[in-house]
Amino acid sequence: MADERDPKLSQHYRSLEPLEPPAALDQKILAAAREAAESPHAPLVAPGGRHRWYYGLAAAAVLVFAVALTLHLERDRPDPEAGPPLRMDRELRGQIKQAPKADAAPREAAPAPRTPAPTPRADEQRIRAEQAATERAMRSEAQAEAAASRLAGGSAAAPLAAAPENPDRWLERIAELRSRGRHADADRELAAFRKAYPNYALPEVMRERVEGTVAPR
């Protein structure tokens, strides 16, 4: 660089007006430097007021989205507590299939023909249909039991809410009528029982007792 330097030219340049930054400017810069050194990661230009609302808006948007998503999932999700009773009901229907009378409700609830790979949506619909059918079946059973109870016990004024007669006890009572020779009463009760419990699978021994086909001892 020495070959480029011209002493006379440099001297002229040095003779120009001496320029120095004013003290106030020095203080501003040094203050900024000190502030930055004290908070190493803080930006010198803080986010302006007109940008701060972005943070609040973003937080609100996230919150609304989270709530909407949760509600959506809650609405579409099957009731987890409906699972086990539903399975129990299906097991019960498996036994009832052997009953002499056809059961409309379980057939209605029978799953649609299986597809090679059922989608979650299809499963969901099947579960809902089964659930509805089960509810209908339970309602009709309760009504039938209540009606049968009224017929058997003569308590016509008994409310539907009264506990229906237990089918086993009812059958035992019919068998008792049969054994006492009250066949007309036994037949009437048996008809009422079958109306009330069309799907009840009668064990062979009990069937013989209530129908009077058992061999006399």
């Binding site: 660089m1 480029e4 330097r5 011209d6 006379k8 030219l9 440099s10 002229h12 340049y13 003779s15 120009l16 007006e17 320029l19 120095e20 930054p21 004013p22 400017l25 020095d26 501003k28 810069i29 040094l30 900024a32 430097a33 000190r34 930055a36 050194a37 004290e38 190493p40 930006p43 010198l44």
Partner: protein, 177 residues
């Protein structure tokens, strides 16, 4: 023995505010003259001078002691001036030619430039921007040609050419009287 600039800048980067004060004291006047004589306006020059130092402060985390501090400082200054000119729609073309970038010397200034120093000052202001920048860097920063080239984003030959053009015009202005 005084600590080198690079050591001071590294210390400031690591949180030593006093190191920056020393560094600032060493370079403030030269950088101030470089900026003010580049823009020809004291208020604007002071604003740019402050902004350049704020950029230095903000960029401290990226400073690597392998780079010479002076080169780094004047690179920041050069880039900031280029940004400033771009914002004003000015470009730094006609670097090697004789065209005058920016306003011509005021006729009143020319009339007053009877004395050698005044002619010199007027000629300096009349230089194309990058020729003036090369000369100012040469005089104020004491950077080598290679360092001037690095700071201004060009090659050494171009930097040398700019400097020679500038010096030739300034000599001519001095000897004109």
């Amino acid at each position: 023995m005084e600590a080198p600039d690079e050591e001071l800048m590294a210390a400031y980067r690591d949180g030593d505010a006093a190191a920056f004060e020393t560094l600032y004291a060493r370079h403030r006047a030269r950088l101030y003259r470089f900026v003010l004589r580049s823009v020809k306006s004291r208020p604007l020059g002071e604003e740019l001078f402050q902004e350049i130092w704020l950029r230095v402060i903000e960029a401290r985390g990226r400073y690597s002691p392998q780079a010479r501090f002076t080169t780094w400082l004047y690179t920041i200054a050069h880039n900031h001036l280029v940004d400033h000119w771009r914002k004003r729609g000015l470009t730094l073309v006609a670097l090697e030619g004789d065209e005058i970038a920016g306003a011509s010397p005021d006729p009143a200034d020319q009339a007053q430039a009877r004395q050698s120093l005044e002619r010199f000052a007027a000629a300096l202001q009349a230089l194309p921007a990058l020729q003036r920048e090369a000369f100012l860097l040469h005089e104020e920063s004491e950077l080598s040609l290679a360092e001037i080239a690095a700071a201004t984003g060009t090659n050494e030959e171009a930097a040398k050419s700019r400097l020679r053009y500038a010096m030739a015009k300034l000599k001519a202005a001095m000897n004109d009287g």
